[in-house]
Amino acid sequence: LNKKYPDVFFQGVKKPFKSVIDVSSGDPHKAGMPPISFIRQVMAVCLYPELLKEKSLPLDVRQRAQKLLDMCSGGSVGSYSTTSIGLPEVQKSISEFITRRDGGVLSHPEDIILTIGSQKGLSVFLNLLTSGEGKTQTGVLTPMPCPHTLPMLLDMTGLALVPYRLFEEQGWAVNLDELHRALEAGRVHCEPKAIYISNPGNPTGYVQDRETIEKVIRFAATNCLIILAEEVHQGSVYGQDKEFISYKKVLSEMGKTYAETMELVSFHSISTAYIGECGLRGGYMEVVNIDPAVKKCLNFTPSAPVLPQLALELSLNPPRPEDSSYNSYTQVRGLSYALEFLNRVEGMSCQPSMAGPFLYPRVHLPPHMVEEAKRLGVKADVLYCQRLLEEEGICVGAGCENGQEDKNYHIRHRYLLIDNKINQFHRSFCEAMLTG
């Protein structure tokens, strides 16, 4: 949506607004969230090592930069990674982070593959999985709603999308009966081999509890499914009494048979609500219990750029004084304000989000809008988003992009806006809907 429209605005056409506010993607920097200074300072020194002598930059910045440069071939961020799956020291650092995060459950550096963002990492792994045609085509159980780029990615990789509905009434929870139903339905037309999980959920923000995770693992094990766990928003959980537990940790506590056989791949990246370095394109995947012969094929992964590997390393090993409590405070404040507003608007209802950058409210569209959409040959939520963009200059994502197929129209938008923008945004947003 936002790809086509912004061009129009550069042509000097008069509009009732000065600039487009694009909140359709989980991109914090675009919305004005400042990058984390420490990370950017270290990156600047790595880019231009003359700055190692720059006294105005903090000493710990310069020391960290030196350490990172020592990890690079020829001491330069411009050389290829020593192995195509990443800089070995970064692999080690990530495995140490994961071990810490999971309370001592060991992670091995050789199971870590650096990626060009979690989307690309997923694409590489899905490419290993894809095979067959027609009834033998490999299928992937996919949550509805799901990240808006996922349906296209599956299609392009030759995989069948087997949808399983998330339950809005339960805050977008995963439902076991629904998983069974979806799997049975899927088996009629393809061969499901994997289940995609987004936890914390994108775009719903739902954080799965331990019980749910165990049930999903058991379900996957019984039904010969690989678990693809996208856990990118693990660092931004703010719901009351909510805690992120990794699939790997839960798996490790389910006994030897599960822990040593269940095939699991988890994905993480620096495109998070907290770090927000989406444009750098960096991330990793951890492969658990994957066949070593298959794993070898991952050596042909396209080489990840070096700078985001270093940014990832920094984000997983932040210095203590820089823990941005200020950032998370702003986030929380922004979120509850936004939620409150949305739920007060006539025709909108929004489940509380517990994590991640998105709010995913349901919009009750007036019948005339649904009819108009039919006449124009577009989906009703897309028409809604188009109108919002044309009239208010606000770009949000249509729920159908996330796979929302039913008549429950939803929109997806990032709530992470800095304070003064929130007022502006929500005032015009809600006005637009009241007059809509």
Partner: protein, 511 residues
């Protein structure tokens, strides 16, 4: 007999399934072995090989570990002359580029008076084009618009004014990303109708890997080693006609300047290729990432696009083409940024729509790479403060490479059993090595391809890592290796000397 064997296999499989099923009943979970195995995975990926980072490099890394652990060897370091990574070999980055990128990363440095004005201006311009003025924001999938405009202007300037439309420019994650994307669009069909892609032998193994992954048919056309690795239209025709028996040839890939051979195509040759492509209705893919790396006297880089347009509208309006460039080679050597672009010519508008869809799946190319590319196509101008330093650095890198190219050819040609074509361009040498029959036999005994055997021995005895010619393709019965000319001149001289001595020793041993 064969059918008996098949039935036996089936029975064995059934027996295994039954065993698994009863275990499943016992455990309550599936004791399946794994869901993802070599048998169940994507069959195409299994066939992918990439020699540049293949088994010899893995052994090299292992040896480095052993050296670190204090294991005694006849050498103290492994010289990795296998991969075209200039910075890894000590080449220095261009100051101007790194200064601008540092400012883009941490804009507070814009206040620092130590940075020249033109550096600051460039950084500000790039930041203004980024979402939220940050290189951490996603860009559009096709790449930041003002950067694509700068790329188009660069192409126009390079090609003597021939117009370039920014809409036809797609920024990418290195040239490899764009090459694979175009191939994805082009590969289709089944059986005899399956897309065939013509690639030069020897070739850069990204192509063979991509074709294997996509299940496309690889059509080999041989470069002429006796004529400085030149391209021969008769040979193209031979390869194409033979291929038509079993596939649908649709694409012709050229690497100019060449990898691994380094040959720089003459203008006449490029015209002939374009004519051939038009006659045979082939999509041209022109990999031009080494366009600034031209060393030999009398050689000049001619872009495919320029030649195409100079051949008149009959060609420039019809021939479909994509040309590729990147920030990884030339004088920049910034492989780790993964910056690049492709320019598409005469692409069907409906296909273009599909292309946009395809690139949007991977969200966007890394923004630092896009920023770097902007600087490469928009370097300091003569009236700007950074110009002098920039030109000094650029000239130094390219002239050093030229000198090393000459040195390499010269020294290798003094070794009986090694013949080396002039390194006209790019960053590699691909000499032909004569191996004694006994060595070939020994290699076969060990289950190794002869030039792999040779390179492994060189690695173990001298700590020099090269890539065997078999990784790039060569005429049956000939053997080669690819060596980069990137080590610093003094080190390169030592390497050349060591290879010389090794070759003589090796030949002696197996005589």
């Amino acid at each position: 007999m064969k059918s008996m064997y098949k039935i036996t296999l089936q029975l064995q499989r059934c027996a295994r399934d039954i065993t698994n099923m009863s275990q499943q009943a016992v455990n309550g979970i599936s004791h399946r072995g794994r869901v993802l195995t070599l048998d169940s995975m994507n069959p195409n990926v299994k066939r992918v090989e990439y020699a540049v980072r293949g088994p010899i490099v893995q052994r090299a890394v292992q040896i480095e570990k052993e050296l670190k652990e204090g294991v005694k060897k006849p050498f103290t370091e492994v010289i990795k002359a296998n991969i075209g990574d200039a910075h890894a070999m000590g080449q220095k980055p261009i100051t101007f580029f790194r200064q601008v990128l540092a400012l883009c990363s941490y804009p507070a440095l814009l206040e620092d008076s130590k940075f020249p004005e033109d550096v600051k201006k460039r950084a500000q311009r790039i930041l203004e084009a980024c979402g939220g003025h940050s290189i951490g924001a996603y860009s559009t999938s096709q790449g930041i618009e003002c950067i694509r405009q700068d790329v188009a202007r660069y192409i126009e300037k390079r090609d003597g004014g021939i117009p370039s439309n920014p809409d036809n420019i797609y920024l990418s994650t290195g040239a490899s990303d764009a090459i694979v994307t175009i191939l994805k669009l082009l590969v289709c069909g089944e059986g005899r109708d399956r897309t065939g892609v013509m690639i030069s032998i020897p070739q850069y193994p990204l192509y063979s890997a991509a074709l294997a992954d996509l299940g496309a048919v690889q059509i080999n056309y041989y470069l002429d080693e006796d004529n400085c690795w030149s391209l021969n239209i008769a040979e193209l025709r031979r390869a194409l006609n033979a291929a038509r028996e079993h596939c649908n040839p649709r694409v012709l890939c050229i690497i100019n300047p060449g990898n691994p051979t380094g040959q720089v195509q003459s203008r006449q040759c490029i015209e002939d290729v374009i004519r051939f492509a038009k006659e045979e209705h082939l999509f041209l893919m022109a990999d031009e990432v080494y366009q600034d790396n031209v060393y030999a006297e009398g050689c000049q880089f001619h872009s495919f696009k320029k030649v195409l347009f100079e051949m008149g509208p009959e060609y420039s309006n019809t021939v479909e083409m994509a040309s590729f460039h990147s920030t990884s080679k030339c004088y920049m050597g910034e492989c780790g940024f993964r910056g690049g672009y492709m320019e598409v010519i005469n692409l069907d508008p409906e296909v273009k729509a599909q292309l946009i869809k395809l690139v949007s799946v991977r969200l966007c190319p890394p923004v630092p790479g896009q920023a770097l590319l902007d600087l490469v196509v928009n370097p300091p101008q003569p009236d700007e403060p950074s110009y002098a330093t920039f030109m000094t650095e650029r000239t130094a890198v390219l002239s050093t490479l030229a000198e090393k190219a000459r040195l390499t050819e010269q020294i290798f040609n003094t070794v009986p059993g090694i013949t080396c074509n002039p390194v006209q361009g790019a960053m590699y040498t691909f000499p032909c090595i004569t191996l004694p029959q006994k060595a070939i036999d020994k290699a076969k005994e060990l289950g190794l391809v002869p030039d792999m055997f040779y390179c492994m021995r060189l690695l173990e005895e001298d700590g020099i890592c090269l890539v065997p010619g078999s990784g790039f393709g060569q005429r049956e019965g000939t053997y080669h290796f690819r060596m980069t000319i990137l080590p610093p001149t003094d080190k390169l001289k030592v390497v050349l000397q060591k290879i010389r001595e090794f070759h003589l020793r090796f030949t002696q041993e197996f005589s």
